[in-house]
């Protein structure tokens, strides 16, 4: 059985494979000895088996807090040349959302 990550990297770097139909890609991968999990992901869009095969866990994708909100700092915008704290807007004094 071919290595799944090697196959994914090969697909990502090959124009014909990257834009092939699911049927065409599945045929090529089957001939290359792809795992059942990778074939299921290609043909049925089912990534669950692929995640199991590779031992993947869900990941957080947001790597920033709210942009702006600099009133907590020195009221200067981020010009990239000064200190910058992760910005968190000041909540309203009353009537605002809960901060539990």
């Amino acid at each position: 059985m071919s290595d799944t990550l090697d196959l994914l990297e090969a697909i990502g770097g090959n124009a014909a494979l990257r834009h092939a139909s699911a049927e065409e890609l599945a045929k090529t991968l089957a001939e290359a000895g792809a795992s059942d999990a990778l074939l299921a992901a290609v043909t049925a869009g089912d990534n669950a088996k692929l995640a199991e095969e590779l031992g993947l866990r869900p990941m957080q994708v947001n790597h920033d807090s709210h942009t702006g909100g600099h009133e907590d700092d020195d009221e200067t915008p981020d010009h990239g040349d000064g200190g910058e704290e992760p910005s968190q807007p000041s909540p309203p004094a009353q009537g605002g959302p809960s901060h539990s």
Partner: protein, 275 residues
Amino acid sequence: MTTPSLSPPTLPARGNLACIGLGMTLGSHLTPLARNHIEQADVVFAALAHGATEKWLQRMHPDVRSLQPYYGEGKSRQKTYREWVELMLAEVRAGKRVCGVFYGHPCIFAWSPRNAVRIARAEGYDAYMEPGISAEDCLYADLCIDPGQYGCQHFEASQLLFYERRIDPSGYLVLWQVAMVGDWSLTRFETGPAYRQVLVDVLAQDYPLDHEVIVYRAATLPIEQPRIRRVALRDLPATRLTGEDTVVVPPAHALKPNLAIRQRLEALDKHAAFT
């Protein structure tokens, strides 16, 4: 054409930092220079969007340290991002060549790399930022949008609610992190329909409720296609969104000619023709 083999200059051992973008799609977007930063590093830190890309990165370097475990349910992301900066800088200060690998572009919606590079430079270390193909880049390509055609505003969705901003509905509007719109606490990764309804109410001041908006997600694995959903603005609260989704609001009005400025420019043209 072959690439000549060049020997880099021999420099005294000193810590440095490179924050690079891995791009969005595994195997498709990593630049040669970014890849070389990974390969030349002593230690690599990773903040990626998919486990497969993290596994792929581990093939490129024997010491890849995931930053994902520093997130925590109920833990402020402010704390997490500061921890990321300190982790990277501690290794730089210890004399290591450090590479921080972030999905997409390391300057876009990523607080830690900007601040790690800034602090490293302030402390006298060499620090570099290498761009990567971002979700914004993929969005333009997959939706065939030219931001120069009508103009294009970008807002972090919560910022649009927390502040009084001016939307130009004759251009494109791109809203990021809509899944967590309205979260004051920085501890949640999703809010919900009621929060998105507030966003819709704000947008409804400039757009009709039947205006079609696009919910977009770039492909992370090369076996995937970009996910593009079109819904009416009024239906956005009921539309399932995750952190990967970005909302694009196409123009609602034609560009309005500025007649006064046009006349002024014509007068300049006439004047220039006679001089």
